[in-house]
């Protein structure tokens, strides 16, 4: 295979990996902070896609959708945390898993009753509607935008968590929620805020994925598995892990499809199994107690 062909496929892997990062970062944030495995994260992704569709339908403006959809989903996330998740923090994790699992169906049916079950898509913004020639072929310029956007998001999130007071509070909460509360910080509000932010990130990824993939109510359940795999590979609750895990899984997926198309489905599971065997806590996770 000529080098340009290899590079073209590597670029496909990068674009898929960055999309996975946007998908999974909210999940890892919520898990790291609240110790909640939020199975409804895929629903936030779906709600974001539909909120984006509605915004584009109403205003014709993709950029507005990119702003409005995460806000809307963030509000839904905050309401969900306050109303139903908070009373469950002291219960065993399985209760939270069951609850968030149930919400997958609730959100799916709500969306279905509003928008119906037909397949929809979001048109890419005019600025990125075309394609550019890279490595001997056309590459959609929207995917280049997604790569850039995702990497900027990673830097912004890193700065917020590592370099701001808010980030310090969040990190403190991750290590010891009770002690943080003892320092006079309203940990409940921080929890709600983090859950809302995680939900908003899920919603954001739904809008971002809209022009690449199609939107249909069951889409949320479908992306849950890849998102969970990224979190397991990268390390539960680690931002760096989420980024590296996504890029790794993105490449594994693409090269699996290039060289072993018939077993490509199993490729990402091989990677996950290998990581779990060698480093049970994930690439950047805290060692297991």
């Amino acid at each position: 295979m000529p080098v340009s062909d290899l590079l073209a496929q590597a670029l496909n892997g990068l674009s898929y990996g960055v999309l996975l990062f946007l998908l999974s970062v909210g999940l890892t944030l919520i898990f790291g902070m609240l110790d909640v495995v939020n199975l409804a994260h895929g629903s936030f992704y779906m709600l974001g896609a539909y909120a984006g569709l509605a915004t584009v339908a109403a205003t014709g403006n993709f950029w507005l959708a990119l702003l409005a959809a995460p806000l809307a989903v963030g509000v839904i996330g905050a309401a969900m945390e306050r109303a139903v998740l908070r009373p469950l923090y002291r219960r065993p994790p399985l209760d939270q898993v069951l609850l968030t699992f149930g919400f997958i169906y609730v959100f799916e049916d709500v969306v279905k009753s509003i928008w119906g079950g037909t397949i929809r898509t979001i048109a890419p913004p005019d600025l990125f509607a075309g394609s550019v020639r890279i490595f001997g072929g056309a590459f959609p310029s929207y995917r280049l935008f997604v790569i850039g956007f995702g990497l900027v998001m990673a830097v912004v999130l890193w700065l917020v968590i590592e370099r701001t007071r808010l980030g310090a509070v969040i990190r403190a909460g991750v290590y010891d929620a009770e002690m943080t509360a003892g320092m006079g910080i309203d940990i409940q509000r921080v929890f709600t805020g983090v859950f809302a932010a995680g939900a908003a990130l899920g919603g954001l990824s739904g809008v971002i994925a809209g022009p690449i993939q199609s939107a249909q109510p069951p889409m949320g359940a479908a992306i849950l598995i890849p998102a969970l795999i990224v979190v397991v590979v990268g390390g539960l609750g680690s931002l760096k892990g989420s980024l590296v895990g996504s890029l790794l899984i993105g490449q594994a997926e693409v090269w699996g499809k290039v060289w072993l198309p018939n077993v490509s489905m199993a490729m990402i599971y091989f990677v996950m199994a290998a990581v779990v065997l060698l480093r049970p806590q994930g690439l950047f996770g805290r060692p297991l107690k």
Binding site: N12, T118, Q213, P261
Partner: protein, 402 residues
């Protein structure tokens, strides 16, 4: 108003009496409702297919005043969730506890294969309204099973020769990695290779794939002149959209099985689908009086929705039931007679003149239409540009009555 227990019980008994009271002996229940079981997806990715098939059936039964040979039509709808274990459980429920007169469905070939023995052993009449597993018209055929939709072989086999002759002899073929996908591409190869066609590549991405970028890059790098693809549902939307985004549309002609551009996916694909050529037994654009009436009646009844091939399958399934049950004067207990009546059913369907192949109980497609996606009044649609007549499944290995 508070409902007292007595009023409730009275009401309940009255309601029970209106249908068939438990005191009516079974042999006299002939005038009871004609129970038709539907095993279809009513949730998940494929629910739109289940809905279309159901609506096609409802249109016919409504025309008949929901009565066939004096018996009220009752449709018992069961959601199979596109999962074989669920579909099989629902089948058992419909056969054993609802005691349906006729069973219809499913969409999923895996469910059909799982249902097959239950249906065959209990001598339940099943009219397959979608699932295309070739085996049901071949080594796994059954006297009790008819199919109004298609075998996977049917829409694809004529396309191989057509593509080799009219599009290109250097083709990359692709379909999802499951039985139906492989069946369809094998049928294409049957006529493509003898017509001098060369397979530049052949690939089976997973069902439910969301990112076709690696495959599309491979297709470009392969130098193929055309692609023949079978995808449906969200797969079809993602594949066609990304095919356009990666700049392949202008360079490598996209052709495929009809599902690639059916009306359930076409609006979402929008302009990315323009120019795609597919083979299928139906398109709402067919210029015949039965189809024109079908399209306008369907639109009137279902809020302006254009019928698709799935709706046509539902329509023909119900049409077959109505005609056969009338032919036996509503007596569905004598199953031998009902099967004989079903074998004889022939009528003008929106797709052309409908008849079963007595050899396999599978529909003989009056035509496989070669269609191209074009702009028409009201958006995009599959416009017929050519057709191949009388396409019957070879039925290899099927010896009825079995």
């Amino acid at each position: 108003m508070r409902l007292s227990r007595r009023t409730f019980l009275t009401g309940a008994f009255a309601a029970a009496g209106v249908s068939v009271g438990p005191w009516v002996p079974k042999t006299l229940a002939q005038g009871g409702p004609l129970k038709i079981g539907l095993v279809l997806p009513y949730s998940g990715v494929y629910q739109v297919l289940g809905e279309s098939i159901t609506q096609g059936m409802e249109l016919v039964f409504a025309r008949e005043g929901n009565k066939v040979a004096g018996r009220d039509v009752v449709m018992i709808k069961e959601d199979d969730e596109m999962q074989p274990p669920v579909g099989i459980r629902k089948t058992e429920k419909l056969i054993e506890s609802d005691k349906v007169d006729i069973l219809t469905g499913p969409v999923h070939s895996g469910i059909l294969m799982g249902m097959r023995d239950k249906v065959h052993n209990s001598k339940t009449i099943l009219i397959v309204s979608n699932a295309g597993a070739d085996a049901i018209s071949r080594e796994r055929c059954s006297k009790w099973i008819f199919r109004t939709s298609f075998s996977n072989w049917q829409p694809n086999q004529p396309m191989g020769g057509w593509v080799a002759k009219n599009v290109s002899k250097e083709v990359f073929i692709t379909a999802p990695n499951y039985q139906a996908g492989k069946d369809q591409l094998n049928a294409f190869k049957e006529t493509f290779v003898p017509a001098g066609g060369k397979l530049i590549g052949e690939e089976y991405p997973k069902l439910g794939e969301t990112d076709y970028a690696p495959l599309l890059t491979k297709i470009r790098q392969s130098g193929a002149k055309a692609v023949y693809a079978f995808f449906s549902g969200t797969d079809a939307v993602n594949f066609v959209k990304q095919y356009d985004q990666f700049g392949l549309k202008g360079q490598v002609k996209l052709t495929g099985a009809g599902f690639l551009t059916e009306p359930d996916v076409l609006p979402a694909q929008a302009k990315a689908a323009l120019g795609i050529i597919t083979g299928h037994f139906y398109t709402p654009q067919l210029d015949n009086p039965v189809n024109k009436k079908f399209v306008s009646d369907f639109k009137a009844k279902f809020g302006g929705k254009t019928p698709d091939g799935f709706a046509c399958q539902g329509n023909d399934t119900a049409e077959v039931i109505v005609r056969a049950v009338k032919a036996v004067n509503g007596n569905t207990q004598d199953k031998e007679k009902l099967v004989a009546a079903l074998e004889k059913v022939q009528f003008e369907s929106p797709r052309g003149y409908f008849s079963f192949d007595p050899k396999t109980h599978n529909v003989i497609q009056p035509y496989i239409y070669v269609r191209e996606v074009k702009e028409v009044a009201g958006g995009l649609d599959n416009v017929p540009i050519d057709r191949v007549a009388k396409v019957a499944d070879p039925g290899t290995g099927c010896t009825l009555p079995a």
